[in-house]
Symmetry: C2
Subunit: 697 residues, 2 copies
Amino acid sequence: MIKTVLVGLVCGAVALTLGVLIGHFGITNNSSSAPSWINDIGKDVDENIVEKFLSEVDRLNIEENLRELTKVPHLATSEGDEQTVQFMLKRWQDPESGLDKAWREEYEVYLSFPDAKNPNKVTVVSSSDTVLYTLREKEKNYTKDQEDPDIVQPYAAYSPAGQPKGKLVYANQGKPSDYELLNRTVDLRGTIAITRYGGAGRGAKAINAAPYGVIGVLVYTDPLDINDGLMSDINETYPHSWYLPPSGVERGAFGSQYGDMLTPYLAAKEETYRIPFKNVTGVPPIPIQPIGFEDAYRLICELGGEGAPTEWKGAFNCTYNFGGPGFKPESTQNDVIKNSSNVMGVIRGSVEPDRYVIYGNHRDSWVHGAIDPSSGTSVMLELSRVLGKMVKEGKWRPRRSIIFGSWGAEEFGLIGSAEYTEQYFTMLSERTIAYINVDIAVFANATLRASAMPELHIEKLTNELIRLSVQTRILVGYLSGAGSDYAPFVHYLGIASMDLSYTYDRSKTNARIYPAYHTAYDTFHYASNFIDPGFFSHQAVARTAGNVLIRLADSLVLPLNCSDYAESLEDYLNKAVDLYQEKLSSRNISMGRSLLEFKSTFNLKNETPLKVRRINDQLMLLDRAFLNPLAFPDKYAYRHVIWASSSANVGTFPGLADAFAKADSSGQTGDWEKVHHHMSMLSQAIDGAAGMLENVI
Amino acid sequence: MIKTVLVGLVCGAVALTLGVLIGHFGITNNSSSAPSWINDIGKDVDENIVEKFLSEVDRLNIEENLRELTKVPHLATSEGDEQTVQFMLKRWQDPESGLDKAWREEYEVYLSFPDAKNPNKVTVVSSSDTVLYTLREKEKNYTKDQEDPDIVQPYAAYSPAGQPKGKLVYANQGKPSDYELLNRTVDLRGTIAITRYGGAGRGAKAINAAPYGVIGVLVYTDPLDINDGLMSDINETYPHSWYLPPSGVERGAFGSQYGDMLTPYLAAKEETYRIPFKNVTGVPPIPIQPIGFEDAYRLICELGGEGAPTEWKGAFNCTYNFGGPGFKPESTQNDVIKNSSNVMGVIRGSVEPDRYVIYGNHRDSWVHGAIDPSSGTSVMLELSRVLGKMVKEGKWRPRRSIIFGSWGAEEFGLIGSAEYTEQYFTMLSERTIAYINVDIAVFANATLRASAMPELHIEKLTNELIRLSVQTRILVGYLSGAGSDYAPFVHYLGIASMDLSYTYDRSKTNARIYPAYHTAYDTFHYASNFIDPGFFSHQAVARTAGNVLIRLADSLVLPLNCSDYAESLEDYLNKAVDLYQEKLSSRNISMGRSLLEFKSTFNLKNETPLKVRRINDQLMLLDRAFLNPLAFPDKYAYRHVIWASSSANVGTFPGLADAFAKADSSGQTGDWEKVHHHMSMLSQAIDGAAGMLENVI
């Protein structure tokens, strides 16, 4: 049933073809009577251009970009966001920039904000409603940055407003198993649960709680998970180190789908039909509020009841118990439809303008967003400056078009990029070679990480980095989940994508993520002092991203490595056979294994530009064949049968793994039928992808 | 909200570009040092080749093909069907044929047949179950053809087996309104309804009946609708004329979706998951059986009860009353999964082998199927013979690949073509220029009819025909519905398609269709005596189809006329504004009208082969942008928002028309929301299509 493919031969032949093509075009190039375009049409990557790019990327420019971008908070659709729109437009529309055009794309999207005049409050009250203790409403000031009146109060976007009041209980990470365990000891009906970040998605902590009768949820970051246990702002945490101060709070979107929630599969334009909010799924059904660990410490250490299990324990120097006193969070936040902008810039391709290489990052932040996302935007601006300069000076123009996207409202669920893919669905599907995402450019300055679909695990990239001595250690992994704007390109459009960043040395810290993430401490001061002093890692990311971009835009034959894809599929298949074959056979669901071997029959004589294009189209479209809009009926805009996220997380085909886990647990015939059905979709997709690489007729 | 496009300018520029391109390539062609491929890459249609093709098409070959194809009945998956598979394979695999390859593609599909040993029976019985009268089980013999033991008994494919017994009532055409009217006078519970063909789909006559408690349905062809009222086989009907003999019965598939019912969106391979039959929708819930008008006459003229309305009356010389005596149809037919084959043939393209022009027809028939479908298959075989010969002689090879498809099991719901589009979805979507369908090549020999999407309303075609004096009258219309194998190409894949045939002079006959349609009288004798003596019309269809095929395969710039598309959309828009704007405005659904005018900015200097390809891709992919898999949630595999079938049938956007009609009738808010939702999908699709024609960046 499941088939996989060995495409090594066809892939190997591409490199050989490349050599012959260059030679062939090279000869005609010397003839004065050949058509004038023949010079350009057969051109490959010019290594001198790559060198020039690499040498011109300047870390000090990146530093200046970051300083400029982080002057004020720039929450999506705020005045500060508009300032960054203007800044990007000014840079890209400058006639000296070398970009061919730049413009703004607007969408009217569904967002969620607290009411600044009537902020969310959390208080501890006595049984007679006397306020015993009020939690902080904003973070403590350490630098002038935290004094800015435009800083948004810590909140959970898309949490419903409400005033639940109830007994407080500690529910660990808010996973289904946590509530289940807790509920054995404590009657959860009418309680407020305090949970820590990690283990479950943000909104899931409330979604998992509601079935037990929990009426409100708090979430905080335990020092164990972010600060390696450090708790003091006297000399342990920021501004003395990169660690999170006790009052710091991670904000976030608490919805679980991506894109504008009210306009699924449609660009959110003024007159677009919007589904009623009651039909939106994946949002918290009960109020949830994030708080700092300073307050969480006071709450948790006061809790009575039975002691929680060891693995629930964080870094507080007290017992973590299950339940305690009266308690009242109050949320007044509003949901509104607001105008959010993407800023787009283009360098038009010379030979194949109808083939796009897209490079993007979001622009909006929760507060000043120095790391998330302005580190990436600073890199993008420097990269586009250097490329544009080469165009402006007449030294270079890419073979294919390069599109830059500065997305809006990513923090609310990848909204800007998702709306863009919905609006330009066919055009992007048909013409896009690859999408490169650099969101948080530098999490930490230890290791360069490239997460990508297998065909983008470009060897050249690694070699280049070693040669440049930028970094000898590079992590190359698959791109999964929906953590940044690559998601709509991967899952909805099926476009080969890569996410690039500098990241941690995991042997040196247990921090879930860089500690100032989504707090008021993610500032230029923080970034330049504690994340990447000197901006060397930022520069390395810019160089790497630019190198990838130039090679994708200029290579005569696309540097997409389909034999790596075949290997990945084989790994998945072997894993699936190991895990599932026995049980499936016993239910008469066959899992026959047929390895197709593709013969390379490229005729290497008389190559034409249309033959190169044909091979490139085969490579470009490979991932499109893995799409099936019906493969994940319960997951919005997930269509890629190989890279969809999976709860089973066992390193094989995600939909099969999830369907099998469900059937194996329920034992119901209908669920086993769904396994069979998904296997048929998977098999057809893999056959289809293999077919795209075979001889075209 | 709804936007339409004026693309006249961009389209006009294509012709101009073409001229310049030819000139340009022409010049380089004279240079000996230019690359060798440059000669081919810039070549346009060679009019000498067109002429040669037209002159070599021979009507006598078509006649011989037809004679061979109709020797025995070739019901899908029968022994006779296999003989036609072998015949096609032999012709196309012959090394002398000039085709590059030909092969069989098999699917295991869900079909429905009567049990030959235990045939369906319809009897009139007394209240004590004494048989008073037994209806014919097969058609009367006039030629040896009707003696063939392999002729399938008249039946309704996908009707459930059963033995309903009840009072007979006459229900006109079995439309919802017919049962509604009848039910006012007669209690329909427990009755058998006799209906005539026309007005409602085959299966709909039973689907519409069931809610009233009707337990079985008969369907016959009234002489008024097929024979212009003539009833006698003494000298009025076949074998004396083309009219249907009294015992002739139209067989048919009574399902309403297309493709294999058990494997929606998946190719029906051996191990493919099959949905349980109970989940299949659109099939008759109660037994239904087709009968001849000889028997229908006896039944209807015996009916008592009130007289039926005038418009219910057919050609029988008796009163058509509502209801009468006891009655018992008995159906024992079985549903089975059987192996059905497509036969495929290919002429590989020389310059752009990865661009496909597909030409197809089904091969299976109900009985001998001389007209339906063998007239089309005979044309296809002659056309492929002449094209293959030119290839074999080294005189020609098409620029793009030509694929021939001889589809299986069309009569059961376009199964072979639908499975093919499901199996090769991405490949066909990405590479197919156009699909040309010739099913019934000649309905009658009065007028050539080309039904096509607007971009295939090729002016050249008409001019060519006039020049050839083949026919000065030509009907050009839109391609709608799902009457033949173009449906999966149009609705599921969004590929520009054309259906070609010779047809009636409507001023000369009222026949619903040619009278022997789906009966045992659709034989070579019938075709050669009464439909197209001399096979001149067959020859004209072969010439026309070949002309279209060569131009699509060889034109440097595709002869797809996007300005006609723009006009069609404008007509639709104007109609929609007329019909709906007022009511929609009153419900705050805006229908703003923005006509986008595309500027042509083609740079006509320094054209390159990749620029030609770019323009061609824009044209090829135009229709793909109109697809939305969510636009018709209730219609299987309908995704094209412009050409889907519509019950409202008012000459505007089909989904909008149907949604509006439903909302206007129900008045429910949810239905008005669906109108708005569909308008947003429509608007996004039209914008997307317009975007595909704009400058690529």
